[in-house]
């Protein structure tokens, strides 16, 4: 969980507004920190796979299952699911309904680097929505699926190559307790 630390205030920006002004300080107060989502609680451990010698924590189990879920990739400026991605969606739906059935599924829509405005974020969201619809069509309960768009702000690759841009036009899966 990333915490926000509020830095000290913008000091004395009200130039010439009077030297007697007391400069406000943005303190790293509890109030500010409290607005963050609560830390993930250590939930009761899930039953470990039979073959495991050491019991897996729930977080470890979630991380492992999450890795089994395959990202869905999209064409430039498009949010329809490509024919070559339908098998990935089916596999993801299967994992969501079996190994990950007790978790919520968060879909993270992403775009390539061409713009960071709201429209690009909306494009990322429409990609996530397309995947959600496909998952629901494969039997995943819609109420288990939430969505977010990261626009271009979460690239997995930052090179200026076509392969790199293609990798960034994607929807990732995250599991939530």
């Amino acid at each position: 969980m990333k915490s926000i630390v509020l830095a000290s205030a913008v000091t004395a920006l009200l130039v010439l507004s009077g030297c007697g002004d007391k400069e406000p300080q943005v303190e790293a107060t509890d109030a500010a920190v409290a607005t963050q989502a609560a830390p993930v609680q250590a939930a009761p451990s899930v039953k470990a796979p039979v073959s495991s010698v050491v019991a897996e924590t729930e977080a470890e189990y979630m991380a492992r299952i999450e890795k089994e879920m395959k990202s869905i990739y999209f064409d430039f400026d498009k949010f329809n699911i490509r024919a070559d991605m339908t098998s990935n969606v089916s596999a993801d739906a299967s994992v969501a309904n079996t190994k990950a059935s007790k978790f919520l599924v968060k879909l993270e829509g992403n775009c390539d680097e061409w713009g960071s405005d709201e429209y690009n974020f909306a494009l990322g969201l429409k990609r996530a929505e397309a995947v959600k619809k496909a998952l629901v069509a494969e039997g995943v309960n819609a109420s288990r699926v939430s969505m977010v768009s990261f626009g271009e702000s979460s690239p997995v690759c930052t090179d200026k190559t076509k392969e790199c841009w293609a990798q960034n036009r994607r929807v990732d899966f995250k599991l939530l307790p």
Binding site: M1, K2, S3, I4, V5, L6, A7, S8, A9, V10, T11, A12, L13, V15, L16, C19, E23, P24, Q25, V26, E27, T29, A31, A32, T35, Q36, A37, D75, F76, D77, K106, W114, G115, S116, D117, E118, Y119, N120, F121, A122, L123, L125, K126, A128, E129, K132, S146, M147, V148, S149, F150, G151, S153, S154, P155, V156, K160, K162, W165, L176
Partner: protein, 416 residues
């Protein structure tokens, strides 16, 4: 020949006040100005920084030919330096640190050897010297009888991406010389000033389970949650009185524009199209301008809040995905190329709702987040070009663009 000249004069006079027409002013015809430093305090490095800042500010005013030579002088000397005797104007200043360590500037503007303007400035913290320089330029501009450049004294707030899903919110002056991180860490984007005084701001936090709009009061440091929405939650615009917000939310996965009442916390959905509707901007009391792909590609539309009537307002370009409006003018971002596998160019264009003229304002790179100053005199924008993020200022009536590069990170979004 006389007829041709007459026709040309009529055309020029017809369009003289239309900012969509390029106005090319000969630099040679501008009055010249030199700068003389008479400081008695501070080291050479600081004095050099102040000189460069005030020289840049005078340049951005675009009403002078600025001589960039740095020269020292006695503040009380009755005549300008010999080297500056042919200058139309000389700006002479003295930086003084007083006993309380406050930063003082004594300034005089000279026309030939006559002092035509004197002003004194004082701030407690020398680290914000650039705001004093901006204010000096503002005062000189006002003395010269030009339209006020209020935006020069304002702060900008931007989100800087540090790494994937890690950003910080930074308050700066318009040149990015001053930078102060106000929210560090986390995944926070789309900051937006909450009022004219710039004493508070909204921003989107993506570190929560669902996207959340937050508010921070810079005076008290208090933070509070405004609203959350699945999918998207962005404050696109704040009304002039700060009492209404235009939000982009997607509670059902469908991005739409919503009107939010700050006092009652009531939300009203303004758009209902089954595609993308984002980026609402207030236009007068009843209209909202927004970006929609309802024609199959992103373009700019207006919407009447009372009647719900939607109207296309930009007719040039096949991919216009961001805009800002001021009076009859609209500046928008247009994609110039549609390359899946090579570099793309996004330029800013200026259009008028009253004429068919469209003026391209930028030439290369990804230019976005255009925003008019409150008085419409200037447009601020973000340029990303060859791995360099910069803040740009366009002086519309002077046909000049200025770029101020960001040294570290990439600007995700900006407001001023």
């Amino acid at each position: 020949m006389k007829i041709i000249i007459s026709v040309l004069l009529v055309i020029v006079s017809l369009f003289a006040s239309d900012a969509t027409i390029d106005v090319v002013k000969k630099a040679d015809s501008l009055p010249s100005i030199a700068i003389e430093d008479a400081s008695v305090s501070y080291d050479a490095t600081f004095k050099s920084k102040f000189f460069k800042t005030i020289a840049a500010d005078l340049n951005v005013l675009t009403i002078f030919n600025v001589d960039k030579s740095y020269r020292n002088v006695n503040f009380d000397a009755s005549e300008v330096l010999y080297e500056n005797k042919d200058m139309n104007y000389v700006l002479r200043y003295k930086l003084v640190q007083d006993d309380a360590r406050a930063f003082n500037v004594e300034m005089k503007l000279m026309r030939k050897n006559d002092v035509v303007l004197t002003k004194n400035y004082k701030v407690n913290n020398p680290d914000i010297y650039m705001f004093v320089a901006h204010t000096m330029a503002y005062d000189i501009n006002e003395f010269m009888g030009e339209n006020p450049v209020e935006w020069m004294k304002r702060k900008v707030i931007f989100s800087r991406m540090i790494s994937p899903q890690v950003s910080e919110l930074v308050v700066a002056d318009y040149t990015l010389t001053y930078q102060h991180v106000v929210v560090k860490g986390g995944f926070n984007i789309f900051p937006k000033w909450a009022n004219k005084e710039q004493s508070a701001f909204y921003y989107t936090s993506l570190a929560e389970k669902i996207p959340t709009l937050k508010y921070i009061d810079l005076k008290t440091g208090k933070s509070r949650i405004i609203k959350s929405s699945d999918g998207m939650m962005i404050c696109s615009d704040v009304s002039e009185d700060g009492l209404k917000l235009l939000l982009t939310m997607a509670p059902t996965g469908q991005p739409d524009v919503f009107l939010y009442d700050v006092k009652t916390q009531a939300t009203k959905k303004l758009t209902n199209f089954a595609g993308i509707d984002v980026g609402g901007q207030f236009l007068g009391n009843d209209k909202v301008v927004f970006v929609s792909d309802r024609l199959g590609y992103p373009n700019i539309f207006s919407l009447s809040i009372s009647s719900g009537a939607v109207e296309q307002i930009v007719y040039y370009g096949k991919s216009n995905s961001a805009c800002s409006v001021h009076g009859k003018y609209i500046v928008y971002k247009a994609r110039e190329s549609s390359e899946s596998f090579s570099n793309n160019t996004f330029n800013l264009h200026l259009a008028s709702t009253e004429t068919d003229f469209v003026r391209r304002l930028t030439a290369v790179g990804v230019n976005e987040f255009p925003k008019f100053s409150a008085d419409g005199d200037a447009i601020i924008f973000v340029k990303n070009y060859q791995s360099q993020s910069s803040v740009g200022i366009i002086r519309l009536n002077h046909n000049k663009n200025f770029l101020f590069p960001l040294q570290v990170g990439k600007i995700q979004s900006i407001d001023w």
